[in-house]
Symmetry: C2
Subunit: 228 residues, 2 copies
């Protein structure tokens, strides 16, 4: 029994991946359970053991992204961190979720119209809550004088969009890892929001620190008059 | 004749909008020329006067966004503006293009697989050039010491994604206009890239320059110290 339950955890992931790949190539409507089984190299009976039909696979794909995204975001906000830390974590983990499941994300986006109405509502509500959590953290930063005076909701949409769009371009075999991209997006979001006064206190890397030192040095020389 | 040529300019826009709406609702494959004509309240003959088939409509939709986006971006970069001005303009106009054609953009995204191979290549090349133009401007800002030391390509993807994603959430009857949203996205991009030091660049005295040097030096020591 223990073995079977571990199998249950592993196999659906392979099914979801194979199905997502086919849905993207041929469209959700254009893909049959038979083709999914063939792609996986298993019998249809084996496939039906896990999923009764295509719709159940789509529901499972949607839950695996939309609901997980909402839950992760809610957990960060509950922790009552400083706005900068909360935002960094929100962006990093949402980006990472998409970066690790780009094909699934695009399927969920494209096939949402094919979801059963009840599941569609669940997905919509999860997305609304994700947006709320981002908005809440940004607004908190604005209210505490740490972030610029921005429209928190539009900015939340902008940041979420930046993360979501990675599904359209990220290559897992590219130069940068999912973690590195997630870091870049989190940095960019924070710099986009932090006020200049607060900004210069943030940690710089070695390269940036060196560049700053060189610039300040030549500026000082100029002031003193050694640079003719 | 003059009248007919003005008609040619106006009518295709209505066709493109009606077709885009149907493609989004029913999928590109699930929509016929007959239904598009019905939606427009015109005869099929009238529709065929402008477009020979569904594919031509899709090609036209794709050109109206992808190729226009590339051309607009190329024009900005040619003008050799300051990096900040060039980036602001790039972001504003790309966001505006998507904000004014959200449904078309989503159709082009979803139905790209149905484009004829030659047109697909054209669209891919246009998108590549759009990315190049954004990357170029960001890199120029980094090289001139105006922007932070970022990965220009990843940041270009991030900014373009932020603009593209507006097609998923912007409501033209919402609180903010397309222009206001485009402004917010451009501001956010600039703040995300500009260095805090550049903002307070005004001439410093010897004391202030020295203090800055000391601050940066101790910051560098800290950075190196934590990276053992």
């Amino acid at each position: 029994m223990a073995r079977q339950s571990s199998k249950i955890n592993v196999v659906p992931q392979a099914i979801l991946e194979a199905a997502a790949n086919l849905f993207i190539q041929r469209g959700y409507e254009g893909t049959s359970m038979h083709e999914i089984a063939k792609e996986l190299g298993v019998s249809r009976t084996a496939l039906y053991y896990y999923y009764k039909n295509k719709e159940e696979i789509l529901v499972s794909l949607t839950e695996g992204l939309t609901i997980v995204a909402k839950q992760l975001a809610a957990q960060v906000v509950e922790q009552e961190k400083e706005p900068e830390d909360a935002l960094r974590e929100l962006v990093h983990q949402h980006a990472k979720l998409i970066l690790l499941h780009p094909v699934q994300f695009r399927v969920v986006d494209q096939a949402e119209g094919s979801l059963p109405p009840a599941q569609k509502k669940v997905a919509e509500s999860a997305r609304r809550i994700l947006l709320q959590k981002f908005t809440e953290v940004i607004q908190r930063g604005v209210d505490r004088g740490r972030f610029r005076l921005v429209d928190a909701k539009v900015t939340a949409f902008a940041i979420i969009g930046m993360c979501n769009w990675t599904a359209w371009w990220f290559k897992s075999n590219g130069k940068k890892s999912a973690d590195e991209i997630a870091d870049i997006l989190a940095d960019f979001s924070l710099h986009g929001l932090e006020r200049a006064e607060v900004k210069k206190e943030s940690k710089l890397g070695v390269d940036e620190s060196l560049r700053l030192l060189e610039e300040n040095l030549s500026q000082l020389k100029e002031v003193i008059g050694t640079q003719k």
